[in-house]
């Protein structure tokens, strides 16, 4: 195997001097350094191969052992975790670090099209294969692979999208503006959850040479609502009611995601009592295909006193003799007078 022979990799004679080996290495590393060859896919492998061969042959002791057959070339390869500069400079997400480029903008980030193969393949396809005119001049295209057009599926793209609470529950269509100023319409299905990822088939990067386009993946971030909260398929709401409404019972307007509805507050309702509005929750897929279910809205009542002091209420309370009036009896504090009065400011 020629690639296993460090002499063949460096293209030097087995009797080559250290000087000749160093010269060969310098010339080959200039030729194959990946950062100086952004368009050559195999440059990195060749560069590492050359580096490994030089690592072996530049060390007289290792070279002698290799010549005696005590070690093989593969055993000497340095494990390299190195990231080359071209991976940053070649239009990867975030743009070029030096000189700046059209990188990912805002929240949208292209995951595809970052690998250099895409560009090479695209250009190869565009120029009819065989390396293109830049390398060989007119007629060089004939050396290509029979002019076969390169086809490849386009890259997938990832986006994130912030949507309102109500839109997530009821469904909506939202528009994302892409870094290139084009727009992508995203249909938010009813009942979409926070952090859910929607897949838009064929809405990613374009394919090459007639290949199908990639997909767009949209991660949805649902914004909290001012008074609704969501727990799975149900919506929860804390609804303030007046003392009078609680004591006497009333029909009160209550917000739901579908708009206000009348809710019957029963006579004698109290803070913490929970009422259910059936079918006013979050739409969800049923257990059987095609079956649609919908959660409920739970309304927890909260009895509130008037914001401003009310003279009539004060008068009423002064004269009022309730039958049972110690809501703190389970806390083990008696009715008897005693203890210091601690006023809160």
């Amino acid at each position: 195997m020629p690639t296993n022979d460090p002499y063949a990799v460096l293209g030097v004679d087995r009797k080559a001097s250290q000087d000749e080996i160093r010269k060969a290495y310098r010339s080959l590393s200039k030729k194959f350094h990946p950062d100086l060859n952004p368009g050559k896919k195999d440059a990195e492998d060749r560069f590492k191969e050359v580096g490994a061969a030089y690592g072996l042959l530049s060390d007289p002791e290792k070279r002698a052992r290799f010549d005696r057959g005590e070690i093989d070339a593969a055993g000497q390869e340095r494990p390299s975790q190195r990231t080359f500069y071209r991976q940053y400079a070649d239009g990867a997400p975030g743009g070029g670090p030096q000189g700046g480029g059209p990188g990912g903008a805002g929240h949208a980030q292209a995951e595809g099209f970052a690998s250099q193969e895409d560009l090479e393949d695209f250009l190869g396809g565009m120029f009819g294969g065989g390396g293109g005119p830049f390398r060989g001049g007119p007629g060089a295209g004939a050396g290509g692979a029979g002019g076969a057009r390169f086809r490849a599926r386009g890259p997938d793209m990832s986006y994130s999208l912030r949507i309102d609470f109500i839109d997530a529950v009821k469904g909506a269509t939202k528009r994302i503006t892409l870094p290139d100023d084009s727009a992508l319409d995203v249909r938010i299905p009813p009942g979409t959850a926070d952090r859910q990822t929607l897949r838009l088939k064929g809405k990613g990067g374009g394919g090459f040479g007639g290949g199908e386009p990639g997909d767009a993946f949209v991660e949805v971030h649902v914004q909290p609502h001012a008074f609704f909260t969501r727990k799975d398929e149900n919506i929860h709401l804390e609804l303030p009611v007046t003392l009078k409404e609680a004591v006497l019972g009333a029909k009160v307007r209550t917000p739901t995601v579908d708009g206000p509805v009348m809710l019957a507050v029963p006579k004698g309702a109290n803070t913490g009592d929970t009422l259910r509005l059936k079918g006013k929750g979050v739409p969800a897929k049923g257990d059987r295909p095609g079956e649609e279910r919908r959660g409920d809205q739970y309304v927890t009542l909260k009895v509130v006193l008037p914001d401003a002091p009310d003279a009539a209420l004060e008068d009423f309370c002064r004269d009022w003799q309730p039958a049972e009036d110690d809501p703190r009896r389970h806390m083990g504090v008696g009715q008897k007078a005693g203890g210091r009065t601690e006023g809160a400011a």
Binding site: D35, F84, Y85, Q98, G101
Partner: protein, 110 residues
């Protein structure tokens, strides 16, 4: 992000004083956070490249800015070309075909 001292230690082939000089020469970008230079991963990769140029390829320091400048131009051109390629690919099939034919015809006359 790495500080100058961390990067000098990680890169092994460059001393902290040299790194400082490279930043001031504009070979590598770094951000000054309070009193410390901070290097991104991209800057770190670039430092490795400069080390390769100096040590493995015996490029002398006079020639390094020239190489970096040409390289930056090459990458900028590639990014533009990529944007162009993506724009062409986003077109309908018939327009892509026209562009391709035009490019092929132009390339033959070069």
């Amino acid at each position: 992000m790495k500080t100058l001292a961390e990067l000098a230690q990680a890169a092994a082939r460059v001393r902290a004083e040299e790194l400082e000089l490279w930043v001031s020469e504009g070979w590598v970008e770094a951000t000054l956070v309070e009193t410390e230079w901070q290097f991104t991963e991209a800057a770190e990769a670039r430092v490795h490249l400069i080390c390769d140029l100096r040590h493995d390829m015996a490029v002398n320091d006079e020639a390094i800015p020239l190489i970096l400048d040409l390289m930056d131009q090459l990458y900028a051109t590639r990014r533009q070309l990529k944007a162009l390629a993506a724009a062409v690919e986003a077109q309908p099939e018939d327009i892509r075909q026209l562009v391709q034919e035009a490019v092929t015809a132009k390339a033959k006359s070069i």
